[in-house]
Each structure stands twice: as C-alpha cells, then as structure tokens.
C-alpha cells in the first residue's frame, strides 16, 4: 500500500510540474530573457544528469577507471559534436570503453 501511495503521489506531483506551465501558456508568455534562461536551464539539467551518471561507481572507482571513462566520453562527444546519430555516439563511446577496459 505504501508503495502504491508513493507511486501515485510522485506521479501526481510530476504531472502537476509538467502541466502547470503549459496551462499558464495562455495567460503568461516568457520574455526573451526568460526564453533563453529556460533553454539554458534545460541544457544544464541534461548536463547535470550526464555528469551524475558518469560519477557513479564503477565508472570512476579508480584513476584508471576515470581515464578510461573520460576517453570514452571524449570520443562519444566528438561524434556528437560532428553531428552523428545517437546510436553512433553511444556505440563509439561504448566500444572505446570496452576496448580500453580489456587492455588496462
């Protein structure tokens, strides 16, 4: 019962956070500065989630792990910057990590 209560209340709160800004769209429109701030906040949130995920064990357990993870992320990021698809970005990063993990 507790679990169901948690899921339902988290769901309701999540939906409220999603819907209220869309509901207020008729009455309130962000100015250009707010527009830019919202977009940058989104970029910052995704970056934060990515970095938080990279800091999880065992990706950064030792110095060697950090170096291997860093190399994999660098390769993936270069692929992303050059406009490759997500599949290529993830595949390239994973391949580098797997190869370096075997070699190290």
């Amino acid at each position: 019962m507790i679990a169901w209560l948690a899921v339902v209340l988290v769901g309701a709160g999540s939906y409220g956070m999603r819907f209220v800004p869309l509901l207020l769209a008729d009455r309130w429109a962000p100015g250009p500065l707010m527009d830019r701030a919202l977009r940058q906040a989104g970029t910052a949130a995704l970056t934060a989630l990515a970095v938080a995920g990279l800091r999880a064990e065992p990706l950064t357990a030792t110095g060697g792990d950090i170096a291997v993870t860093g190399a994999a992320v660098l390769v993936g990021s270069v692929a992303a910057f050059r406009g490759h698809s997500l599949t290529v970005v993830v595949g390239a990063g994973v391949a580098v990590h797997a190869a370096l993990s075997i070699l190290s």
Binding site: I2, A3, W4, A6, V7, V8, V10, G11, G13, S14, Y15, M17, R18, F19, V20, P21, L22, L23, A25, D26, A29, P30, G31, P32, L33, D35, R36, A37, L38, R39, Q40, A41, G42, T43, A44, A45, L46, T47, A48, L49, A50, V51, A52, G53, L54, R55, P58, L59, T69, V73, G76, A80, F81, S85, L86, T87, V89, V90, H97, S101
Partner: protein, 273 residues
C-alpha cells in the same frame, strides 16, 4: 516578446522573412489539403525513427529500473510507475528507497526533486504549444521528459504545419513509451540474469551527451553546461535531486553572464512587423 498570434500565409513577403529555424515562428497555415494523411503518417514515422536510437540508448538503464522494481516491496506498483511517473531516474529512486525502507515522505520528496527539471522543460515548451487546445496540452503534459523535450525543440526549429508537428510528437512518444515499457518489463522478468558492467553503465550518460553536446556550439549553452557540471561534481554527498536543481540555477546564471542580447533578446532574424 515571442511568437505572432496570427497564422501566416507562406507566400507572403513577411513569411519569407521569417527564419524557419526560429522557435518563435508560428506553424504554417493549414489550408485545404495542406497536411495530407500521407504527410502526417510520414511525420509519425519520422518521430518514431528519431526517438528509436535514443530509447535504445536507454536500454541498459531501463533494464536496471526493471530490476529495481522487481526487488521493491510492490513490483506491480514499480511497473505502474512507467506510466504514472514517466521518468526513469525518479522510478529508480522510488524503487530503491522503498526497498531500503525509507520513510514515505523521503521517497516522495526525493523523487519530486529529481523530477523538478520537468517544470523547466514544460515552461520552455509552453511558447511552442500556446496555440494548441487545452485537451492536447493536458495529454502531452503527461509525457514531457528529457528525450521528448529535446526532440520537440529540435523539430520545432524546422518548418512544418501544426498537424505535422503533432504527428511527429505522437510518433516519438509512442516509440519511447513502448520501448521503455518493454525493456523495464524485461528487466523485471530477467532480474537475476542482468550482469553489472561499467561499460553498460556508460550507455545512459553517453545518450545524454548525444543530446547536450550539439547545443554547446552556442556559447551561452556552453557556459551553462560547464557551470552545471562543476556544481554536480561539487555537490557530491548532497541529498539526491538537490545537485541537479542547483546545477540548473548555476547553468542559467552562467549562461546569462556576458551574454549580449538584442532589444528582444532573440537572435537577429527577420520577423514580421
């Protein structure tokens, strides 16, 4: 201020002066036959195809979420969170905290802090969807999450009628939801057979990098990303969810520092008078 409220004839001089990449550009008018069923079907497929690799990139994470749900006190509730919560990080935190015996208030607060970024996502989508009927916004709100937000911003930067944009959104959501649910379910069923691997743990962060890195060509976004990364690293040990909120605040502050804006704050593109 952002978008014009009147529909724009694509043949007009004013319309040709609108940069179609501006998210402030209103959708093209839909005259008779302007958006055929074929065009909408194509957009539906495009949205699904654009989302498929992103969703596939989340596969290891989805399997982990399924494994955590299977281990929680109420696995069915953990599965129902696929639809009720619609956020993998929050789902995972709920399952893990319930398994650890955390207090109900702690479980709810932690998950909502993780989900707090959804306020920002919806607020940034609000200008794009302001002209849509309330029922559509109420339905679409349920599926606002990182990949749907990112894809919709990218899609709105390209030309398209309103119906095409909606079809694209529906295709993307259908692909994401179906793949996610199947993978979480698989994780619940295969709970004892999923290996732990550092390489698999890298998949979800790499998928997020694929979404973020292209945005870093903009200097303000680059500053925002650097600030956010620094805050997350410095915030190690804080309660789950707080570093992400702090990172968003730091990112906005860093992005705005040193930015030189025009009088309306938008890139200098042609707009109708």
């Amino acid at each position: 201020m952002s978008s014009a409220t009147l529909p724009v004839d694509p043949r007009s001089v004013e319309a040709r002066s609108i940069d179609p990449r501006s998210i402030d550009a209103p959708p093209r008018t839909e005259g008779a036959g302007a958006t055929t069923l074929g065009a909408r079907t194509r957009e539906l497929r495009r949205g699904a195809l654009a989302m498929a690799p992103i969703a596939a990139g989340y596969a290891p994470f989805a399997l982990l979420v399924g494994r955590a749900a299977a281990a929680s006190p109420e696995p069915v509730a953990g599965w129902a969170a696929n639809f009720l919560v619609y956020g993998g990080s929050a789902q995972l935190s709920v399952s893990q905290l319930l398994t650890d015996g955390a207090a109900l208030a702690t479980v709810i607060l932690t998950a909502l802090l993780i989900q707090a970024r959804l306020l920002v996502y919806s607020a940034s989508l609000a200008p794009l969807w302001r002209h849509r009927p309330l029922w559509w916004r109420a339905a679409a709100a349920a599926v606002v999450i990182d990949p749907t937000w990112a894809l919709m911003h990218a899609r709105h930067a390209r030309p398209g009628t309103d119906r095409e944009l909606r079809a694209y959104f529906v295709g993307a959501v259908a692909a994401l939801t179906s793949l996610w649910v199947v993978l979480v379910t698989a994780g619940m069923v295969l709970v004892t057979r999923i290996p732990t691997s550092a390489t698999l743990d890298l998949v979800a962060p790499l998928a997020l990098c694929a979404l973020v890195v292209p945005q870093l060509r903009d200097r303000a976004n680059l500053r925002a990303a650097i600030a956010a990364a620094a805050v997350v690293v410095a915030g190690t040990g804080l309660p789950t969810g707080l570093p992400i909120l702090a990172a968003m605040a730091a990112g906005v502050l860093a992005g705005s520092l040193g930015s030189r804006t025009s009088t309306d704050g938008s890139p200098k593109r042609g707009t109708p008078r």
